[in-house]
């Protein structure tokens, strides 16, 4: 039949042309039938961007981490020295959350900073979740009118300049800043309080505030998805409101909490702006070190190694976290289905 259609139309034409018609048709049929071909054609620009600006740079970073900086040149003979440096004890004193834990011990400065960054990111994530969850709960269960307006009100601050928000906290907490001057002009204190700024707490407060707007949304979405009849069923089966929250609402909203936690935790570990603005030396995080290694200290290979170790450790932590929470979530999904 297929052959009929062709030969009737193109009976006199040379063989080669007939073959090209068949080939064209085959190609066309393949293209129409292949979702992958059509899909990937559309994906080309994005994949090119991702390859050139994400895959290649990260690979370059990886390769650079095995090189050595020689003044302004980079010597690319393979070495693991950079990685050794990270865990090497150095003469500097390692602050840990403002406390010097082992004054006499020589601590590996980068490793200690990494641990401190992770610990601070953890505290930030925790406080963000504790503050954001009730708000998400409020939005999901209590707000009935103007829901969209509330959502917009919550999410917009996240998009406004992060730099300016961090700066605002510096202004608030500073020695001559809003709190101190406010308290002084109210006559509550005579001397400005100096413990407000330039410490880990200031960093944690600022970062918590910065992420707060962002974290509400994923939690809200997972709360909103909960079938209200499940809650009614729980009450019907004798749960009090608190029991019901602990046994139904909280577990079912965990996917949102997990997602929000990761979206807050991971970028926070590598924070640079906030520690620089409000952290002082005790609130310093790894990001500042990475920046200086690429800036004044001019040791790109070491900077690359530090970045990669940071990413690796964070990835491992995240995987462990997902493994712990994931198995529970999986079980729940199966029950859903």
């Amino acid at each position: 039949m297929a052959a009929d259609a062709i030969s009737s139309g193109a009976g006199q034409e040379p063989r080669a042309q007939r073959w090209s018609i068949v080939l064209c048709r085959r190609l066309r049929a393949w293209y129409l039938g292949s979702d992958a071909a059509r899909g990937y054609l559309l994906l080309m620009p994005t994949l090119a961007v991702l390859f050139a600006l994400l895959v290649v740079p990260v690979a370059t970073l990886f390769l650079t981490s095995f090189c050595t900086q020689v003044y302004f040149k980079i010597d690319c003979s393979f070495t693991l020295a950079n990685y050794a440096t990270i865990f090497e004890p150095s003469g500097e004193v390692g602050y840990f959350l403002g406390i010097v834990p082992y004054p006499e011990m020589e601590t590996p400065i980068y490793a200690v900073l990494l641990v401190r960054s992770i610990w601070m990111a953890f505290l930030v994530t925790l406080s963000v979740m504790l503050l954001a969850y009730p708000m998400a709960y409020f939005l999901a269960f209590r707000v009935t009118r103007n829901k969209i307006r509330w959502l917009i009100l919550i999410t917009v601050p996240f998009w406004t300049s992060y730099l300016l928000r961090a700066f605002a906290w510096k202004v608030i907490l500073g020695y001559g800043g809003v709190i101190n001057s406010g308290l002084i002009s109210a006559g509550i204190i005579q001397e400005p309080l100096s413990f407000l700024l330039y410490n880990p707490t200031a960093v944690i407060i600022t970062l918590t505030h910065a992420w707060l707007a962002f974290a509400v949304l994923p939690i809200y979405v997972s709360l909103e998805k909960i079938d209200r009849s499940l809650l009614e069923a729980a009450s019907d089966l004798g749960d009090s409101r608190i029991e019901r929250f602990l046994r139904i609402t909280l577990p079912l909203s965990m996917p949102g909490v997990v997602a929000a936690s990761l979206l807050v935790f991971i970028p926070t570990v590598g924070e640079y702006v906030t520690p620089t603005l409000v952290g002082g030396s005790s609130g310093k995080m790894l990001g500042s070190v990475i920046q200086s290694l690429f800036g004044q200290a001019n040791n790109q290979p070491l900077g690359s190694a530090v970045s990669l170790v940071m990413m690796l450790v964070v990835t491992l932590l995240v995987c462990a976290f997902l493994k712990v929470t994931g198995s529970k979530l999986k079980a729940r999904e199966v029950q859903d289905a």
Partner: protein, 370 residues
């Protein structure tokens, strides 16, 4: 081959696989020009997938579809001589009703006035004159359905594909639309391919029906033949209800076979062209409404099965009875018209009865592997 007989659409070994899922498997049948053809089958049997392959939204994993003699695999949906009425109607939400109807006419090279005229006529025809400026969300379900129909029909397709177009309507509107649809199809003379899982709808509307199950066609036939002469047990069970007596053929005498159906006794049944022979496993199938209930042992009938009534359901015009026959794994359903029933008819439950039916009312179904 398509043009030799009067087949207009021809499916040849068509299959569609989604990964490991075989949505459609080796489907081969023809649809005639101007026919109202239905695809009928339970949910998930691949009706929509088959229809979408006709429309060009899915490309067969193997096999070929011919429409009007042309192979379709290299023809994109917009170049096919088909138009579709979607299950969700797919009325463009940002366009008015008139713009929706005019949508497919853009390429036809009509002048502005002609276009407006065509649209107006179409609107009149679907009795939505004056609704041209409305948006989709300002229409009721039935109105949308008609707009979707008009939008497809103004393009004068050779084939109109309809995917459960009446499923979203309430019962009354659905029955009205069924009649309208059938009249419309007669008047425009376009080939309709109609998907439904509602067997009554398919029987009422169609010239021919393809009964599908698990991606395969079981039987392609007219409504009457599907009902009176189902080719297999699945078709018989899917269209209407059916009682089955499994047994072994003991004798074939011309057109009549005798089947030994165990405790139901020896049953005589027309062979109806099925290849069968003595000793083969076979099933005798009888529709509930073709059975009679005798309250006394009947005399001189060929097929008669004794049992006891275990349940009775009264529907006003008719009653359904469940009759238990000792030795049979399932009860026998009988439907009787209540033409002679009155208020003081005695309760049937628990009574001993004899079920009888004429030989030509039963169907012989060969058993798989028999």
């Amino acid at each position: 081959m398509a043009s030799k007989d009067n087949s207009f659409i021809s499916l040849q070994g068509v299959a569609k696989h989604f990964g490991s899922l075989r949505a459609v498997e080796d489907v081969t049948f023809d649809i005639k020009r101007g026919e109202f053809f239905s695809l009928l089958g339970p949910s998930g049997c691949g009706k929509t997938t088959l229809l979408r392959m006709l429309a060009g939204f899915e490309v067969p994993s193997s096999g070929e579809i011919y429409i009007d003699g042309q192979p379709m695999s290299a023809v994109p949906p917009n170049a096919r001589p088909t138009n579709m009425v979607f299950q969700s109607y797919a009325i463009f939400p940002h366009l008015t009703v008139a713009q929706n109807i005019a949508y497919g006419l853009r390429k036809k090279g009509l002048s502005k006035a002609e276009l407006a005229d065509t649209v107006e006529q179409a609107l009149q025809r679907i009795r939505l004159g004056g609704y041209g400026q409305r948006l989709a969300h300002q229409l009721s379900g039935g109105q949308r359905q008609r707009v979707a129909l008009a939008r497809a029909l103004v393009c004068r397709p050779k084939v109109l594909l309809l995917d459960e177009p009446l499923a979203a309507l309430d019962k009354k509107l659905r029955e009205e639309m069924q009649i309208e649809l059938r009249q419309l199809q007669r008047s425009v003379g376009i080939t309709f391919v109609f998907v439904t899982h509602d067997q009554e709808e398919a029987l009422a509307l169609s010239d021919r029906i393809a009964v599908m199950s698990k991606g395969r066609t079981l039987q392609v036939d007219s409504a009457a033949r599907l009902y009176e002469a189902p080719s297999c047990r699945e078709v018989a069970g899917f269209i209407g209800s059916m009682n089955f007596f499994d047994g072994t053929v003991t004798d074939v005498d011309g057109d009549i076979a005798t089947v030994d159906a165990g405790s139901a006794g020896a049953l005589r049944v027309p062979v109806n062209g099925h290849a069968t022979r003595r000793g083969a496993k076979a099933t005798v199938a009888v529709r509930p409404e073709k059975m009679e209930i005798a309250w006394q042992p009947p005399q001189g009938v060929t097929n008669s099965v004794a049992g006891r009534v275990t349940a009775e359901a009264y529907f006003g015009d008719r009653s359904h009875y469940h009759v238990e026959v000792s030795g049979l794994p399932h009860h026998i359903a009988v439907a009787l018209q209540n033409s002679q029933r009155s208020l003081d008819t005695t309760e049937a439950r628990g009574r001993r009865v004899w079920l009888t039916w004429p030989v030509e009312s039963s169907v012989l179904l060969p058993q798989a592997g028999g």
